[in-house]
């Protein structure tokens, strides 16, 4: 066993997809929403938002019993854990991989989350502190799984138990790039030979008062309270911040030759990924997109692909002015004039921004785009920002030959991540 760079010829492919997203539980409901260009943003209902600046959210209508969770699981799991386990089970069923034929120590988990079990932490805090009155919170009211809420690693524990994984299990928490970074982490484990199967994805359930209040405080979330269905408007000149979302996506990754040997359906291969940091500001972005461009360049370089090979870009597209300009610049900087020829879209226009989870939900969307040869649109894009002059696939999904897709993420901390996926067989050459 070695943890060196990619061992000879080992590649990671996606054989299963599970999604819990606003607008519907399950992979196919998610894909229908995207390809129909519908939005799942609405007036926030998980708590009363009357006193908040932003009152819009992209919520999942999630019934844990209907989603197959048992009573004990529901009792101990935070909403984010419930999303992750339901997604993981859907992905495993979709993949059809026979885990009993895989040694448990060869099964890994790479799960991302930006804010962990924040809902559970906040709800319990409210009780233990008597609604904030007691700094010395009353420990006698603590539930047995309170510590499980404090440590986000619990989310990875639950997925590991759901899959019977006994190999490396990681919770990756790099803010809003967690979803891409966690998948990239799991890909590394397969490529280096540490694991043969990995559950990879991310989950977040941040629609709670403390998260809403902290995004209010920095005016990051939308002020379009009067029109919640059209509140997430990436690349549109009438954008006004992101819409807080929630959800999860978990993928089954397998070593390519093993997946092929068992005749698995392969959605796509992850052929490159890279992260760079701007070392500039925890929340601010420079307009030049320099570090994101570098991440894109390195990810393509790993795949030994030229910018002209990219047939679709899944943008970060959060719907803040600084993001939309930053990444538009990054695409031009890294892809040159070809950036103008590539369809670019933001699914956050439909399902909001679920912080760490969204990166993996977007990887799932990319895998489905490769599989179905359709690219999802950017909803609500009626009046493009003149400074955003690429083809953002406004309003309507597009049938499109999709061989290689690029997805990017940008997050607090200055983190910029890029991942390149390819349709099976497209990248047959050696890569670095």
């Amino acid at each position: 066993m070695s943890t060196a760079g990619p061992a000879a010829g080992r590649r990671a492919v996606i054989t299963g997809i599970g999604v819990v997203a606003p607008g519907g539980v399950g992979r196919e409901a998610f894909w229908r929403l995207l390809t129909e260009g519908r939005t799942a943003t609405r007036r926030l209902s998980l708590f009363d938002p009357a006193l908040f600046r932003s009152q819009v959210a992209a919520e999942v209508d999630f019934d844990p019993v209907a989603a197959g969770l048992e009573a004990r699981e529901i009792r101990r799991m935070d909403r984010a854990a419930q999303f992750a386990v339901v997604s993981a089970r859907e992905a495993l069923a979709d993949s059809g991989v026979d885990l009993s034929a895989v040694a448990p120590e060869r099964i890994a988990v790479g799960l991302g989350s930006a804010v962990g079990c924040t809902m559970g932490l906040e709800e319990e805090y409210k009780i233990l502190s008597d609604s904030g009155k007691d700094w010395l919170v009353d420990h006698t009211y603590g539930v047995p799984h309170l510590y499980g809420y404090m440590v986000p690693s619990t989310l990875a524990v639950e997925v590991a138990w759901a899959a019977g994984a006994e190999g490396p299990v990681s919770l990756v928490s790099t803010g809003c790039t967690s979803g891409i970074d966690a998948v990239a982490h799991a890909v590394q484990l397969i490529e280096e030979g540490t694991a043969d199967v990995a559950l990879a994805g991310a989950t977040d359930a941040p629609i709670s008062p403390i998260s809403a209040a902290c995004f209010d405080a920095i005016r990051a979330t939308t002020s379009h309270n009067d029109d919640p269905e059209h509140a997430s408007r990436p690349f549109d000149r009438d954008r006004a911040g992101f819409v807080l979302g929630e959800g999860s996506a978990v993928l089954v990754l397998e070593e390519k030759s093993a997946a092929e040997a068992r005749g698995a359906h392969v959605y796509g291969e992850i052929v490159g990924s890279a992260g760079r940091s701007n070392a500039h500001h925890m929340t601010g972005l420079k307009a030049d997109g320099r570090e994101m461009a570098e991440a894109i360049r390195v990810a393509l370089d790993q795949a030994r692909l030229d910018p002209t090979a990219v047939s679709y870009i899944n943008a970060h597209g959060s719907g803040t002015k600084q993001n939309d300009r930053h990444e538009t610049a990054a695409f031009k900087r890294s892809l040159g004039s070809h950036a103008y020829d590539i369809p670019v879209s933001s699914i956050k226009s439909m399902i909001g921004h679920s912080l760490g989870a969204i990166g993996s939900i977007e990887v799932a969307a990319c895998a489905l785009a490769l599989d179905r040869q359709v690219v999802p649109p950017t909803a609500n894009l009626h009046n493009p920002d003149p400074d955003c002059d690429l083809d953002y696939v406004p309003l309507t999904a597009r049938e499109h030959r999709t061989d290689v897709v690029l997805t990017v993420g940008s997050g607090f901390g200055g983190f910029q991540s890029a991942m390149v996926l390819a349709r099976p067989g497209v990248v047959a050459h050696e890569r670095s």
């Binding site: 006193l51 609604s131 499980g148 990875a156 070392a279 925890m282």
Partner: protein, 407 residues
């Protein structure tokens, strides 16, 4: 000259721990068996069954952290910012002189900015949403420390954060090693944690694994007959890990040591009847290092302090090394468990042990619990020629990690 395959080296260490601020202060306290455990002062622990912890006494964020960052970040990040300055100074690294994309930051965090978060939730629930401050969005989340370190030191390479409770620190170092094999020349890694606020400690109490002892010298005694849980602590260590080629290029002739091997494994789901993963994980780390059990001169144990977990760890060590087959120690009795900061501090201590040829003792442990057939170094440090050390860590829920270091 180092080649591309040479293992990465650790060239700098920064410590902010209950045993001391600074590498040598920490090491002197460890060798003297001087405990950093005492009655909690960060809040009044009187109402709680747990009243002892390892605090970083004498630490002042106003002195150790740039003034602009003090109100923007949690105590946990303050401790890491100070430790990272010290580690880079120790390594004599000038980040401005190195390629920006070849420097990375990977830290462990177990629980994020817990104290900051409690303050902001108190503001929210005592008042209204607009009482929540702008810095909550960047101070509470688990990536705050890595982000701040990246910005502070202008490191623009691939950054990461791994959460695996007490095992996360070894996972971070393992990931840092991976990055040096994928183009990074230098990685600031390790971690800190600081959940010594009422809500943080209350959450820890919920596990039933904390010691309620009131004698600082007797409350946390892993592998002892009297073991009755662990104590929490704050702080940790930040390390500078470099590719061997980079260190040589900078003229480093005496790094603290090299990282030879790493592995991680996860315990089976409860009720499966399958064996825990620690023994196998140790074997994988040794194989990864190209070594066998006989090559290891000292083991830094996880030392849970919960009898069943102590027994499981002792059995895993005995199974690999034979009963009483290798010196074992757990100097974390002096600090409490530091969660994300715990394993990095153990790695720092192990590197110092390798440097000076001395195994620090596990202060306070007197008689081993039945079945713990390990050569636990007690009473006083033990001098021995040391070449290689194994560091173990386990995290709540089933995480196991093992790291092999060489002088």
């Amino acid at each position: 000259m180092p080649t591309e395959d040479s293992p990465p080296v650790i060239t700098g260490i920064g410590v902010t721990a209950p045993t001391g601020i600074g590498v040598e202060a920490h090491w002197a306290a460890v060798l003297a068996g001087k405990s950093g455990i005492d009655r909690i002062t960060r809040f009044d622990p009187t109402p709680y069954p747990v009243t002892l912890a390892g605090e970083v006494s004498g630490f002042s964020a106003d002195d150790a952290v740039p003034s602009r960052l003090v109100p923007q970040t949690d105590h946990w990040t303050h401790l890491a910012l100070a430790a990272s300055e010290a580690a880079l100074a120790d390594a004599r690294v000038d980040p401005a002189a190195l390629p920006e994309y070849e420097m990375a930051v990977v830290t462990a965090s177990s629980s994020g900015g817990t104290e900051f978060g409690q303050h902001e939730m108190a503001a929210l629930y005592q008042h209204e949403p607009e009482w929540v401050g702008a810095y909550q969005s960047i101070a509470w989340f688990y990536a705050a420390t890595t982000g701040q370190l990246s910005i502070r030191h202008k490191m623009r390479g691939p950054c990461g954060v791994l959460c695996g409770e007490q095992a996360g620190g070894l996972d971070a170092i393992g990931q840092a090693r991976r990055l040096t094999r994928r183009g990074a020349r230098l990685v600031v890694t390790g971690g800190t944690d600081a959940s010594l606020c009422p809500y943080g400690v209350t959450a820890q109490i919920s596990t039933g694994r904390l010691s309620t002892g009131t004698d600082p010298a007797r409350a946390y005694l892993p592998f002892d007959r009297a073991a009755a849980g662990h104590l929490p602590g704050e702080g940790g260590a930040i390390l500078v890990l470099e590719s061997a080629a980079s260190a040589a290029e900078r003229g480093v002739t005496q790094p603290y040591g090299s990282v030879l091997g790493y592995a991680a494994g996860f315990d089976p789901a409860p009720g499966s009847g399958r064996p825990p993963a620690l023994r196998r994980t140790i074997g994988q780390a040794l194989a990864d290092a190209g070594l066998t059990a006989g090559d290891i001169d000292v083991v830094f144990a996880d030392g849970s302090g919960t009898p069943a977990e102590d027994l499981a760890e002792a059995r895993a060590i005995s199974a690999v090394f034979g009963p009483y087959g290798v010196p074992v120690t757990a100097p974390k009795v002096l600090t409490g468990r530091l969660y994300g900061g715990g394993a990095p501090l153990d790695v720092a201590t192990a590197l110092l042990a390798l440097r000076d040829g001395v195994v620090p003792h596990t202060a306070g442990v007197e008689s081993l619990a039945p079945g713990c057939d390990i050569d636990l170094v007690r009473e006083a440090p033990r001098s021995a020629p040391l070449r290689r050390a194994l560091v173990l860590a386990r995290g709540h829920g089933g995480f196991n990690a093992a790291l092999v270091l060489a002088r």
